[in-house]
């Protein structure tokens, strides 16, 4: 165990790797600060930059981009009350009031500290539980894998809130898009429409950039005129008082624990972790009225929770090969592009990659802390820069990023299609995250299902009668039924209200 950790640090601590980690954190924060773009967009936009690097270095840089993106999102949400990422939405609740009271600097400082503490707790959990979960994963049959992935997809749709049916539509559309290309088992082409480029499947980056990047930019353009920051954030204003520090210890400890636990579960993810941590703080607080008016606990708890969760979300991604969130599925896609297939064998077959990655997570977190305290003034200036001058460049970078992935003009035209679709989906309340998750899991889901059915001789009863597979499938089914019943109930309630108070003639 210890020699592994040492091996990891030895891998990560070369000057080259440190430099790329730094570059990753810097660029990731830069993109995360831009409104509407979070860590997911940061990873997909910067993925092509890592192509020319060694796999380990590339992953270290990607890890840095990921953290940078998350932290950049928090900066935007505190200063503008405009969450750059969904998980930063909770930070807005108390972060923005603090900024309005002229304490933006303290809020940003506590955010950085809480992120670091949460991240560190998550990393320790990842080191401790990762290998044992991988050993567990070795014993899984194809049927178990199928059931586990299905559970992940169902959980992503039902746990996050929002319309279940829209979430399911996105998952199924994602799975369907995942079938485009050459069928692994038979070599037949599916949905390629005689395009040579589609034989390798739809480009993940083109799709992610379309539904997340382009559509976000389009909707931010019309809302960009009202944005303004009046606060000045200097390094001096970041110093918290002794009282502030005393108040943050407990929330950080509780937040990290909650986040570390929830992050490892499929579908729960960072957003739920942040909300749960915030709710817990309100519940145990003596004076509940302080929340929402700039309580420092309201920043420390969710920020440490979402960073711990972001860390432990790597447990299922790396050790079983099943990502729990859209961002993780982009990470998984990035790993595969670099020739590493995450799964139970990753730790034993590529120990330098696994432990190097973990060590670099920690270094990335540390860099984030060191980098962002002196650079906070720079990020504030990036935020104050008129959006007018930012979005054309962002669009240009999306184009060049997608193009340079496979020097493919075809992929750039896919961005047009996915951008239009993504914008329509966004306007009508569809979340693009399940789409990406379904797309990445689709091919694995199909392959495992086919193998499982072959082993069960085509008899679904045999598949379900295995205790592990059966119970996983049962949990998925229960979650779906519960969610659908809830949806019907709210629909009925809405109809009844319509009848009592008729709104126009419709």
């Amino acid at each position: 165990m210890f020699e592994n950790i040492l091996l990891g640090f030895a891998t990560a601590f070369t000057p080259e790797n440190l430099a790329y980690c730094f570059l990753g954190v810097f660029l990731g924060t830069f993109i995360g600060v831009l409104p509407g773009l979070g860590s997911l967009a940061a990873i997909s936009m910067l993925l092509p930059l890592t192509f020319y690097l060694e796999p380990t270095t590339a992953l270290i840089m990607l890890g840095g981009i990921y953290y940078g993106g998350e932290y950049g999102g928090s900066i935007a949400s505190i200063l503008l009350n405009l969450p750059g990422t969904p998980s930063a939405a909770v930070t807005c609740l108390d972060g923005n009031p603090m900024a309005k009271q002229g304490r933006a600097g303290v809020a940003l400082f506590i955010t950085a500290i809480a992120s670091f503490v949460g991240g560190s707790v998550g990393i320790v959990a990842l080191m401790g539980f990762g290998p044992s979960i991988a050993r567990l994963g070795l014993g899984f049959s194809p049927a178990d894998y199928f059931a586990l992935m299905l559970l992940g997809l169902v959980a992503a749709v039902t746990v996050g809130g929002g319309s279940v049916i829209k979430g399911l539509i996105m998952v199924v559309l994602g799975l369907l898009l995942g079938t485009v290309g050459t069928d692994v088992t038979t070599g037949d082409f599916r949905y390629t429409f005689d395009f040579l480029e589609l034989r390798d499947g739809v480009s993940l980056v083109a799709m992610a950039m379309g539904v997340f990047g382009v559509s976000e930019v389009i909707s931010s353009i019309s809302g960009s005129k009202t944005r303004k920051i009046s606060e000045k954030v200097t390094a001096r204003s970041m110093m918290p008082t002794r009282e502030d520090l005393r108040r943050t210890f407990g929330p950080m400890a509780r937040g990290s624990t909650i986040g570390g636990f929830l992050g490892a579960l499929p579908g729960a993810g960072t957003v739920i972790a942040a909300f749960m941590a915030y709710a817990t703080e309100i519940r145990i607080a003596k004076d509940k009225t302080r929340f929402g008016k700039g309580a420092i606990e309201g920043i420390a708890a969710p920020e440490s929770a979402n960073n711990a969760a972001a860390q432990t979300a790597f447990i299922p991604t790396l050790t079983i090969g099943i990502p729990g969130s859209a961002t993780m599925s982009i990470m998984l896609g990035a790993l595969m592009i670099h020739g590493i297939s995450p799964g139970p064998l990753l730790i034993s077959d590529h120990p330098t990659v696994f432990w190097g990655l973990i060590a670099s997570f920690w270094i990335g977190n540390l860099f984030l802390l060191v980098l962002n305290i002196p650079l906070i003034g720079l990020w504030v200036r990036v935020l104050q820069f008129p959006y007018k001058y930012i979005y054309p460049v962002v669009i240009a970078l999306i184009c060049i990023g997608v193009f340079s992935m496979r020097t493919s003009v075809f992929d750039v035209s896919l961005v047009v299609i996915f951008g239009a679709l993504g914008y329509l989906f966004q306007r009508t309340g569809y979340s693009p995250a399940p789409l990406i998750l379904g797309f990445v899991l689709g091919p694995m889901l199909e392959e495992n299902l086919r193998r499982a059915m072959l082993m069960a001789r085509g008899d679904p009863i045999r598949l379900v009668s295995d205790p592990l597979t059966g119970s996983l499938l049962a949990i998925s089914a229960l979650m779906l039924v519960w969610a659908v019943l809830g949806g019907i109930r709210s629909l009925v309630a809405a109809r009844r209200k319509d009848q009592v108070f008729p709104i126009g003639e419709g």
Binding site: Y52, T186, R190, P392, V393, A396, S413, L491, R495
Partner: protein, 150 residues
């Protein structure tokens, strides 16, 4: 019946995608439950997609919500940005990277009225220099800066 809501339009679009996928998938070899062919998974998925989209369409039709501002389409930025990306694709294939940057930024700035060509030109020049530094100099990628290939 005043206006067809955007939600219904999107549901119909999704049902259409599902139906098309189903028709195409039915030409593939379905196989059996034991030995699934390449068509099995797509057929099941597209059928489920059609069912879900129809259910969503029905619920959009029944539960009519007041049109909020968030469900309106801003045509100008939508078309300008999509045109910018498409323009980039065409220009980079024909003339190379630097003209493509000018096209993408020029078209993107049409999203807002009265943007002016001067800031657009400055942005394009800055982007070209930045991209050249980052991609060609720092990362050593080979990108076609200029070309005349038809």
């Amino acid at each position: 019946m005043k206006t067809i809501s955007l939600r219904l339009v999107v549901a119909i679009l999704l049902a259409g995608i599902g139906l098309t996928a189903l028709v195409i998938a039915s030409t593939y070899d379905i196989g059996s439950a034991r030995r699934m062919g390449p068509g099995y998974f797509p057929v099941v998925l597209s059928a489920v997609l059609v069912l879900l989209a129809v259910a969503e369409g029905v619920s959009a039709f029944m539960k009519r919500e007041p049109e909020s501002t968030s469900s309106r389409i801003d045509w100008r930025p939508l078309l300008a940005i999509l045109a910018a990306v498409a323009g980039f694709a065409v220009t980079i294939a024909l003339f190379g990277l630097i003209p493509a940057f000018f096209v993408v930024i020029g078209l993107a700035t049409l999203s807002e009225p009265r943007y002016g060509w001067k800031p657009a030109a400055i942005l394009a020049i800055v982007t070209c220099i930045g991209a050249w530094l980052l991609f060609s100099q720092l990362l050593g990628m080979t990108l076609p800066l200029f070309r005349l290939g038809f």
